[in-house]
Amino acid sequence: MPRQRNDILQGTLALLVLRILAAQGRLHGYALTSAIHRASADQLRVEEGSLYPALHRMTQDGWLRAEWGTTEKNRQARLYTITPAGRKQLELEEESWARLRDGVTRVLKYT
């Protein structure tokens, strides 16, 4: 039985996170999952188990900056913002995504 796969393709999670943070400024992890979910019109769902390690890795790599802040519900949350290095990385990821998409589309169209 064919199965609908809406897990985020490996490697594109970083692209999505960077894109959303570039557009929306400061977000915590939970808001990021919701944002991806919403922005993809409920097509994409982020596994929590993938998101947080990715956020940590991206922070270590210097693409994101993380700091503790308070949400409107007065909870302590870790808020992420994109850094200049992150923006550069976003460009790279967008390009490579565009190449991948073009390639895949061509293959689907002409074979």
Binding site: Y30, Y52, Q60, Q76, A77, R78
Partner: protein, 891 residues
């Protein structure tokens, strides 16, 4: 992640994990809120939120994994695991750690001596700036030359001269010698040494006619005066002359030569206080000073050389030795002065022991290699028994890299423990070694304190060792196939051959290296045995030697020979003295004397060819020393100072200078400056003896009556043969000699001691190489035993089947021994090939044995094969005793 940020994380790892926990808590709280908003009951909502997250701890683990914290955490668990698994195999752990400890300990011990002798700088300020002055290839100078250089030079901030001496602190009777130095005024200031107490010497202390003053070393001050400050101003006696103590030097300073520790520093000028009229301060041919300077800033060695070239004519003109042959004078006038680095000091020790130390370093390196192979093999055997464990872990999803890391951690841990223990061995070993190299009155003292270099060496060796033997099991674990390994207990299935191949290859390496070490040890021990038992042509034991020095007596020069004669007569009168004689020197005693001879019928090829060794002796010297008279007569009362000049010659001298014809009655002359002595008639021929060293072939020696050659002498040797033990007579000899003149200084030794001292380096190397050879052999035997025991254990089933099918026990033993023999033979062949080149390294320590001596190689091989088969005997017997029923019922 860069190592830097990993490191940074180390310091906030607690923060990191707290952050992660808080962040995940937040996420779950948000999700719960959302689910409640969607209509779920709060408890269900919380459970669902958590479920979506999976196991909370897992997440924290995965996110944290990239931090050093995690890395260290793994390391700690690896170490814990290593300790636990080693505790479960104590025999293995002890064998492995001891192997490593011995290997690394031996290496560290030898290296720390090399470090002290070759590499350590002097403990003075900015030692790398110091240079020594050389004239052509020579670094000794006369005092006039030193003064000429000192007064003319302008290239140095400070420059000083010094000479090592053994000062006699006793005022008469048996000498009490202490290492000391005559030093010029700027010695301490140039070296930058501070005073521990009192003051040091300065330029104003060093002038002609100065009184005797001394500075003590800190060690001497402590041992002799209990570090009492009251010692300043007191006097001590050097050769019976009073010297005032003015200060104590810095504790860290041990002098300018590595290996000897001057305890007393006296100004150069005070040499005249001791020597009186015999002072060498104005002698233009007494070469005894070394010169060291600290060049001015930015003055290069090349500039100094150029400047010296300009100064040289004036320096040479002022110091030209009188009465030199024209050729030597011309040579002297062409002298070129230059400088060479002096940061590591001057050391005769360095040149004497350099070769020996490097040979020892190679030897201990080989021992370490054998030890490594041994530990590698032990680990391999262990890896085999742990194969199932590894397979289970692989099957449960452990990464191969993780397993490799675990194994390497274990190896490094082993080698770290071994190295620590080895450090302790090295501490004792290096001191023991220095003791071996010291002899008689001359104590070699070295600064063996641990420095960074030795520490780095040990850590480096330990790490390399750990990696070397740790990679072996890791390499073999690499190919563990979980399925096969889990099944491996099935009947009849034996291990793949590869593991045996590695293990056997390691044993072959061990055997080959052991053979190299054994052969080398065999050669060195053989040489030493030859030296220790050869007949030097004179009695090699049972002779008491007394060196009597009349320098400090007030006896006039022309009466000194009579004084010595009187001493001889007194000694001969002592009951228990069988025979006694006087001589200028005793053979193998570090003193020598030679002259150019002229005879009819012998045309020398060069001046050197006309040289003969000399000695001046009293009557009965030959009978006392046990040298046989071959022809003619001994010296006696006929040979007075005024009588016709006579000589007794060795057979080698007779052969060389007089040919086949009888030498008795023949005459020869001795070169005397530019002329020749009166003819000297040969009245006796004696058997050949060694002269300078036991290694010499017996040379040409001419013996002349003591009083015919010289009118005076400062020192003489007495040879005394006693009826009973030497010790019982020694006291009465000393008493008798002191009674003759209490100011004569005496040193007592025996001919055995004197000969032993001359072979001590050979003996030390022979002993050490034997020790290390035996060690390597034991390690190789353990390796062989281990691998055969293991083979037998793994083949238990197969052997059981063979026995069940009727194989005789003897046949089983033969089967195992054949396998061992194959290993040993391959090892021996490789070892023999290696030995052929490796033993050349020790050539200069050998005596009458060639490095590729077939007998030594054969004996070493036989020993090796015997030990190898011996080691395999017990596993072979065990194999033959396998109970087929029990073996087949297993599993």
């Amino acid at each position: 992640m860069s190592w830097f940020s990993r490191l940074r994380n180390q310091f906030r790892s607690d923060d990191v994990s707290r952050d992660i926990d808080r962040e995940l808590e937040f996420h779950i709280a948000e999700r719960t809120d959302e689910l409640i908003a969607a209509g779920m009951r709060p408890a269900d909502a919380r459970r669902e939120a958590r479920r979506r997250f999976g196991h909370l701890g897992d997440h924290a683990e995965r996110t944290r994994h990239r931090d050093l914290f995690g890395w260290l955490d793994t390391l700690a668990s690896d170490l814990r695991y290593a300790v636990r698994s080693l505790r479960n195999a104590p025999a293995f752990a002890v064998a492995a750690i001891l192997s490593i400890a011995l290997g690394i300990g031996a290496n560290t011990a030898i290296f720390s001596i090399i470090d002290a002798v070759m590499l350590k700088s002097l403990p003075v300020s900015h030692p790398q700036e110091l240079v020594k002055i050389v004239r052509d290839d020579n670094d000794v100078f006369t005092n006039p030359l030193w003064e000429a250089i000192r007064d003319r030079q302008d290239m140095f901030d400070g420059v000083f001269a010094f000479a090592s001496r053994r000062f006699n602190l006793a005022a008469g009777g048996e000498a009490r010698r202490v290492d000391g130095s005559y030093v010029s005024g700027e010695y301490f200031s140039t070296l930058g040494i501070r005073a521990e107490a009192g003051r040091l010497l300065s330029r104003t202390d060093d002038y002609r006619g100065c009184p005797g003053i001394v500075v003590l070393s800190d060690a001497f001050w402590r041992s002799e005066y209990a570090a009492s400050p009251a010692v300043i101003g007191r006097t001590l006696s050097i050769s019976a002359h009073p010297f005032t103590i003015v200060g104590v030097a810095d504790p860290r300073f041990f002098g300018m030569s590595v290996g000897d520790h001057p305890q007393i520093f006296a100004p150069l000028c005070s040499e005249a206080v001791v020597q009186g009229a015999g002072s060498e301060l104005d002698h233009r041919s007494s070469w005894y000073l070394q010169i060291v300077g600290r060049p001015k800033e930015n003055v290069t060695p090349e500039q100094i050389r150029t400047r010296f070239a300009a100064l040289a004519p004036a320096i040479i003109e002022a110091t030209l030795p009188p009465n030199w042959p024209a050729e030597a004078t011309a040579d002297y006038k062409r002298s070129v002065f230059a400088v060479a680095p002096a940061a590591k000091g001057f050391s005769a020790l360095r040149s004497t022991y350099k070769k020996a130390l490097y040979v020892l370093m190679v030897i201990v390196g080989l021992v370490l290699a054998v030890a490594c192979a041994n530990v590698g093999n032990l680990l391999l055997a262990r890896a085999a028994t742990r194969r199932r464990e590894m397979a289970v872990r692989l099957a449960l999803g452990a990464a191969r890299a993780r397993l490799t890391r675990q194994l390497v951690t274990e190896s490094l841990f082993l080698s770290a423990v071994g190295a620590s223990l080895g450090g302790v061995f090295a501490f004792w070993g290096s001191r023991l070694l220095v003791g071996l190299l010291s002899h008689g009155g001359e104590v070699v003292s070295l600064d063996l304190t641990l420095d960074g270099r030795v520490l780095a060496f040990t850590i480096g060796v330990a790490t390399l060792t750990g990696l070397a033997f740790g990679l072996v099991p890791a390499w073999s674990a690499r190919r563990v196939d979980p399925q096969a390994a889990m099944k491996a207990h099935g009947r009849g299935v034996t291990d793949g051959p590869s593991r045996f191949r590695i293990a056997k290859a390691l044993v072959v390496v061990q055997i080959a290296l052991s053979l190299v070490l054994l052969t080398g040890a065999g050669l060195l021990i053989g040489s030493w045995r030859k030296l220790a038992t050869l007949n030097p042509g004179f009695r090699r034991e049972g002779v008491l030697l007394v060196a009597a020095d009349a320098l400090d007596t007030r006896v006039p020069d022309d009466q000194r020979l009579a004084l010595f004669r009187q001493m001889l007569d007194r000694v001969r009168a002592i009951p228990g003295v069988q025979s006694a004689s006087l001589s200028r020197l005793t053979p193998i005693g570090q003193m020598s004397w030679n002259e150019v001879l002229q005879t009819d019928g012998f045309t020398p090829k060069s001046e050197e060819d006309a040289l003969s060794w000399m000695n001046a002796v009293s009557d009965r010297y030959f009978s006392t020393m046990g040298i046989p008279m071959r022809a003619g007569r001994d010296f006696d009362d006929r040979d007075g100072a005024a009588s016709a000049k006579v000589a007794i010659v060795s057979e080698a001298m007779a052969r060389k200078f007089f040919g086949a014809a009888p030498a008795i009655g023949r005459r020869f002359r001795i070169q005397d400056g530019r002329t020749w002595s009166d003819p000297i008639e040969v009245v006796g021929v004696v058997g050949d003896t060694k002269y300078n060293s036991l290694r010499d072939t017996a040379p040409s020696i001419v013996f002349v009556p003591d009083h015919q050659r010289e009118a005076t002498a400062n020192a003489r040797r007495l040879e005394i043969v006693t009826n009973g033990s030497i010790a019982s007579v020694a006291t009465s000899v000393t008493a008798a000699l002191v009674a003759v003149n209490p100011k004569v200084s005496l040193s007592l030794t025996t001919i055995e001691r004197q000969i032993d001292d001359s072979t001590r380096l050979t003996r030390a190397i022979a002993m050490l190489s034997g020790l290390f050879g035996a060690l390597a052999l034991v390690l190789a035997a353990i390796g062989l035993y281990g691998v055969m025991s293991y083979t037998v254990a793994r083949r238990r089933n197969e052997i059981g089947v063979r026995i069940a099918l009727g194989a005789e026990r003897g046949r089983v033993i033969r089967m195992v021994l054949t396998e061992v023999a194959a290993i040993v033979i391959v090892g021996a062949v490789v070892g023999a090939a290696l030995s052929a080149t490796a033993t050349r390294l020790v050539t200069s320590f050998l005596y009458e044995i060639r490095p590729n001596d077939p007998a030594t190689l054969a004996i070493s091989t036989v020993v090796l094969v015997a030990v190898g088969l011996g080691a395999a005997l017990s596993p072979a017997r065990r194999a033959s005793r396998v109970d087929p029923v029990a073996a087949l019922r297993e599993d």
